[in-house]
């Protein structure tokens, strides 16, 4: 599959006008995204105070400046990148900032929006850094194994720090805390992509046949089982079901894409089910989550009031089709984690089903653009990397949104780009930067420009 890429690179630039890079479209979309976010910010102030927030202009300028900077970096370093990726990132990040600001107004003693804006700035900075320092994604292949090692360390590190709200996923130094698992997932996807790009044929073509399923050969099964063990270990030691499911899902999806072996998926699902069952049985924390998912209103009937899932469902239901409008909802009744894990409930309540579906559409667009990039790329590593990154966004969205909508048991995970959390927003900008880099490569091949 690498062969056509070489051909494309050697082919002389086609005559005639230079193909459209899509940068002008991107510029307008970015400006539109900033406009929507600023409008939301003004709307919150207008609703809660009767006038736009005093710093609306400064906020708009900051967000617009960041977005323009990112756009110029793309224009400079990844001219042919997919023009939808950056605007979607800007819009999601902007919506997140608005909703966090709105929730800040309901919690006078803790304001998270300024910090989130700071982290977003850092995220855009890293976005630029990736574009500048990484002209070719294939360089990442060289550091895949050392990256995996770093990822393992990052995953294990929080065990030595105190548990926060029942989960050991934070590293806390003073008032500063990061969630290393967020960064680890990108490093792991790079590792998976590199590993599978090399071994996909071995994995696909050898092994024993059992009934209709082809089982992998023992030799290559080793690393797979090791990965599984690590994840279960993380799950048990850090009681973070969400992250664990996410890692596992990404791995299984990438394995399937690389090898086309249904057997892998079956094994993966069986192992995941076994792991979740055992942990759900052993860990009271996880067991309680499953119970709450099955019977979200049980605590009300028991006279203990509404639990968080019930409050989350109340918020969504109150939003109805059109929502209450920004600032008019009562999602703060959810209590703890309203700005992070449960932030989707605020969007559902205040922007309604309409707003929620629009948001899902944005994510779907981002995911499908990631997959498109992967399919258009010709080198196996880049292809698997793009697909892996898009899968991160898809699965993470499903895990967190499914949790707060009571579609699946609630697991702590952050809504990409929107939820409060510095590590998360920074990681998401890195993911988008990598997708921009990959799509630049893919579209250069398609458009036959060097």
């Amino acid at each position: 599959m690498a062969f056509p890429a070489a051909v494309a690179a050697d082919r002389p630039r086609s005559a005639g006008p230079r193909p459209s890079s899509g940068r002008t479209v991107e510029l307008f979309l970015v400006l539109g995204a900033v406009g929507i976010a600023v409008f939301g910010y003004v709307e919150v102030g207008a609703e809660l105070d009767g006038r736009p927030p005093a710093d609306a202009l400064r906020y708009g300028a900051a967000l617009g400046g960041l977005a323009l900077l990112a756009h110029l970096l793309v224009r400079w370093r990844a001219r042919y990148a997919d023009p939808l990726l950056l605007p979607i990132g800007v819009l999601l990040n902007g919506i997140g900032l608005v909703v966090i600001y709105r929730l800040d107004r309901a919690t006078p003693h803790s304001s998270a929006a300024p910090t989130q804006l700071l982290w977003s700035t850092l995220g855009v900075g890293l976005f630029g850094l990736v574009l500048v320092l990484l002209p070719d994604h294939r360089w990442l292949r060289r550091y895949a194994y050392s990256g995996a090692l770093v990822a393992l360390v990052l995953l294990v590190l929080p065990i030595f720090f105190p548990a926060v709200y029942g989960s050991r996923i934070w590293i806390t130094v003073g008032s500063f805390s990061i969630q290393p698992g967020e960064f680890a997932k990108v490093l792991l996807v790079i590792f998976f992509a590199a590993y599978l790009a090399v071994h996909q044929d071995t994995l696909a073509l050898t092994g024993r046949q059992v009934w209709r399923l082809r089982l992998p050969p023992g030799r290559v099964l080793g690393p797979v089982l090791l990965v599984w063990a690590v994840f279960i270990g993380v799950l048990v030691l850090e009681t973070d079901l969400g992250m664990s499911l996410l890692y596992f899902g990404i791995f299984v999806v990438m394995l399937y894409v690389a090898t086309a072996r249904i057997g892998w998926i079956v094994i993966g699902l069986l192992l995941a089910a076994a792991g979740v069952t055992v942990v759900g049985w052993l860990s009271p924390h996880v067991h309680a989550r499953v119970e709450q998912w099955l019977h979200p209103l049980a605590s009300i009937q028991a006279g203990q009031g509404a639990n968080q899932i019930a409050q989350s469902l109340f918020a969504f239901a109150w939003g109805g089709l059109l929502g209450t409008g920004l600032g008019k909802g009562h999602s703060i009744l959810i209590g703890f984690a309203a700005k992070s894990d449960f932030i989707l409930a605020t969007i559902g309540e205040e922007l309604g089903l309409t707003g929620l579906l629009a948001l899902f559409l944005l994510y779907a667009l981002l995911i499908s653009r990631g997959f498109r990039t992967g399919i258009a790329l010709t080198d196996p590593f880049g292809r698997l990397l793009a697909i892996g990154l898009a899968t991160i966004i898809g699965l993470q969205l499903f895990v967190v949104a499914g949790g707060v909508l009571a579609l699946i048991p609630l697991t702590g995970a952050t809504l990409p780009f929107i939820a409060q959390g510095g590590s998360s927003v920074v990681t998401n900008w890195i993911i988008v930067a990598l997708l921009v880099r990959l799509s630049d490569q893919a579209r250069r091949t398609l458009l036959r420009v060097a």
Partner: protein, 497 residues
């Protein structure tokens, strides 16, 4: 899929498309679940008792007023906090039987309950732009409930009851408008309107009070009506032709032995113990033997029919607050019918229904549907709904009604109802002293029902009233001595502008 069939292994583009489809399918699942929660299941979640949103919305704006005589008897005060506005009452105990209560913790009852949608602003009829309001979630300010209550009559009733266990219901006979609705001992509905611990304590104390101050005795409690029921029996006997001339001797014997038994139906006064007594005298002296006899002569079916025309046995008498069902048995033997015809045995009535009896006689036989609400308006005063008088039943012909009016007038001028006489007015009434308890050992219920009009007026009397004193401490408990003066005060309040 065999090892050597690698050529048929789907290519990476295909697996990538499948994986992409899988991820998008997850998003579709999320969209489906969101639609389910936000659209199909929304009502259930919104109505959940643990969901505070409806309460937050409800108490987020002042509640509309309830008005008596054009003046609000309720208010709304901002308290801050999650539930902002709480209900206040300008004269809570006086109008508690009219308004009911609206409490952040304990819900809404009576008028506050039946008219809640209008008062809280959620009533669709307040919407000028229903669709636009649904989209913008605009909340209408609460509307106003204008009651039919006459403040002077209400105050007279409360002053007359003076904290004794009892109730008053007064009706304008021609329209059915309720002029007074009083129940004592009363309570202040404002004392537990909020959600503080003081509110909770006030509620608990009221709930555990053995005097049951929160019981609306005028509407929600039935008592054996005793001799006041003789008005119904007389109307039925006259309608059936059992008696044609109220001053002519009847066929009643003396003593009157209850059919099928050896027990005579005794009278309170010796003047009754005469055979063939005429109906006018029997009513004036409240003779049990004559009226019991006439009830049996009239027959069960006709007695039941007339009683039901006055509101007995109606399980859904909504004014719009629902009144308790007053009872007149529909299957009895003749001795039970004799007792029921003098308001004993299983016969039981709310003060409201006994007021309907007096009003029906006063309104020439037409019983009007009793109504507590005059009109509903928006906050700007424009009318949402105007209540029009409507007939309930025709209980008797105008001719028979004229005869019963004469009987009731005689009770006041010549009989037991003397204390209700008003100078310058024609008053018709009937006393009742109902025995109850084991072997009639309890303090009797003292009843009085009446109507009044200015002397010489040929119009329908402007007021009919029923009074019951349930548990008097007085030594001589009779309807004439205890209840009639209260009825008189209420009627005077209506007659003198």
């Amino acid at each position: 899929m065999t090892p050597d069939a690698s050529g048929r292994r789907p290519g990476i583009r295909i697996t990538a498309r499948r994986a992409g489809t899988f991820c998008l399918l997850l998003v579709v699942l999320l969209a489906a679940q969101a639609t389910r929660v936000q659209y199909f299941q929304a009502k259930g979640y919104n109505d959940n008792t643990a969901n505070q949103r409806k309460a937050i919305l409800r108490y987020g704006q002042p509640r509309g007023p309830i008005l008596v005589g054009g003046q609000p008897v309720t208010g709304s005060v901002a308290t801050g906090g999650r539930y902002d506005y709480k209900r206040t009452y300008t004269d809570g105990p006086t109008y508690a039987a009219v308004t009911g209560f609206s409490s952040q913790l304990y819900g809404n009852t009576q008028l506050e309950g039946t008219e809640d949608a209008l008062l809280s602003g959620t009533d669709d009829r307040l919407d000028g732009w229903a669709v636009w309001n649904a989209i913008t979630r605009h909340q209408n300010p609460g509307g106003a409930v204008h009651t039919t209550i006459d403040p002077a009559a209400q105050r007279a009733a409360m002053a007359g009851l003076d904290g004794q266990k009892g109730a008053v219901a007064a009706i304008e006979p021609a329209t059915g408008r309720i002029l007074a609705l009083a129940s004592t001992p009363s309570y202040d509905p404002g004392s537990f309107a909020g959600s503080s611990s003081a509110d909770q304590q006030a509620w608990t104390e009221l709930q555990s009070d053995s005097d049951q101050p929160m019981l609306n005795r005028a509407l929600r409690q039935t008592y054996p009506p005793g001799s006041t029921f003789k008005v119904v029996t007389a109307a039925a006997a006259l309608s059936a032709g059992v008696v044609t001339d109220i001053n002519a001797p009847t066929t009643a014997s003396h003593p009157y032995v209850l059919p099928g038994t050896t027990t005579p139906l005794v009278n309170d006064t010796g003047s009754c113990d005469v055979a063939g007594l005429d109906l006018a005298t029997a009513m004036a002296l409240s003779c049990n033997s004559v009226l019991g006899y006439l009830g049996v002569q009239t027959g069960l079916n006709r007695m039941v029919a007339v009683a039901q025309d006055f509101g007995f046995n109606d399980p859904r008498l909504d004014i719009p607050v629902r009144a308790a069902r007053s009872n007149f048995d529909t299957a009895m033997d003749r001795s039970q019918l004799a007792l029921s015809s003098i308001g004993q045995f299983d016969t039981a009535a709310t003060p409201l229904v006994m007021a309907m009896v007096a009003a029906g006689v006063a309104d020439n036989g037409t019983v009007m549907y009793p109504q507590l609400v005059d009109k509903l308006t928006q906050s700007d005063g424009s009318t949402v709904q105007l209540m029009r008088p409507r007939p309930y039943r025709q209980a008797m012909s105008p001719a028979v009604a004229g005869q019963v009016q004469q009987l009731m007038t005689d009770v006041v001028t010549n009989g037991t109802g003397g204390p209700a006489a008003i100078p310058g007015a024609t008053v018709g009434g009937k006393t009742g002293t109902a025995q109850h308890g084991v072997r009639n050992s309890a303090v009797p219920y003292a009843w009085f029902i009446s109507w009044a009009k200015p002397s010489g007026s040929s119009d329908v009397p402007p007021v009919a009233v029923a009074v019951v004193i349930a548990d008097s401490t007085a030594t001589d408990v009779t309807g004439g001595s205890l209840a009639a003066p209260i009825a008189k005060a209420v009627m005077q309040a209506v007659l003198s502008p």
